[in-house]
Point group: C2
Chain length 129, copies 2
């Protein structure tokens, strides 16, 4: 695909799975989902491929305060909302605020490459309980 790597059935399926979901899966969720299709799949392979896909820029690792990583294939820049009760992660539609970075550049002597915003609270489903 991007050269350097050979194609592998497993990597393709992992990517397709990530592209087909709005949830922000963990490695072991992916592993469980693919167990039926690849009975001999190993978690190591899932992690290896998630890292390769990340490196290729096809997916992103999102680090949401938990002990484990989550992954997404949504390439549009966006912010996240994390439900404090069910720990679900949602993509937000709020526009990206690039002006934040310019604003900061004036205040400090940093070179800023990117920024990340995460909102925390209770999601709609959890509120209804």
């Amino acid at each position: 695909m991007t050269g350097k790597y050979r194609r592998s059935k497993q990597r393709e399926v992992i990517l397709r799975l990530l592209q087909s979901t709005e949830s922000h899966p963990t490695a072991s969720w992916i592993y469980d989902k693919l167990k039926s299709e690849f009975p001999h799949l190993s978690l190591g392979t899932v992690y290896r491929n998630l890292n390769i896909l990340s490196e290729q820029g096809l997916i992103k690792k999102i680090d949401c305060g938990s002990t484990f990583d989550r992954f997404e294939a949504n390439n549009h820049p966006h912010y996240h909302f994390i439900c404090e009760q069910c720990n679900s992660v949602f993509d937000l539609k709020t526009p990206i605020m690039n002006n934040l970075e310019d604003q900061l550049s004036g205040l400090h002597n940093f070179t800023i490459h990117s920024h990340m915003i995460e909102f925390f609270g209770v999601c709609e489903a959890c509120k209804k309980q």
Copy 2:
């Protein structure tokens, strides 16, 4: 201090150490720093106390994309800048934007409690190399 917990020399010293630094220490950095004063200190004790202090709201656990947690005793709400080269964490002076949360409430059906912003780039010291 807040009741429920007894006072312990170790916990007090860990808190004072965190309050006296602008760096955002890891558990093992704290452990190393206190080794001379408490030759028998154990990492388990450091972790236990960091969790208690966190629960008491005296310090905050900050999860900066690394594999390990960092801690800070800075109680003023603030955002972070993380240097991609040396991994240092800096507290920012930019004002907190509470309007972001109101703005979002209009767009989604979430109840928002808080938000976090992290900026990534290169710090002043690393630029000079």
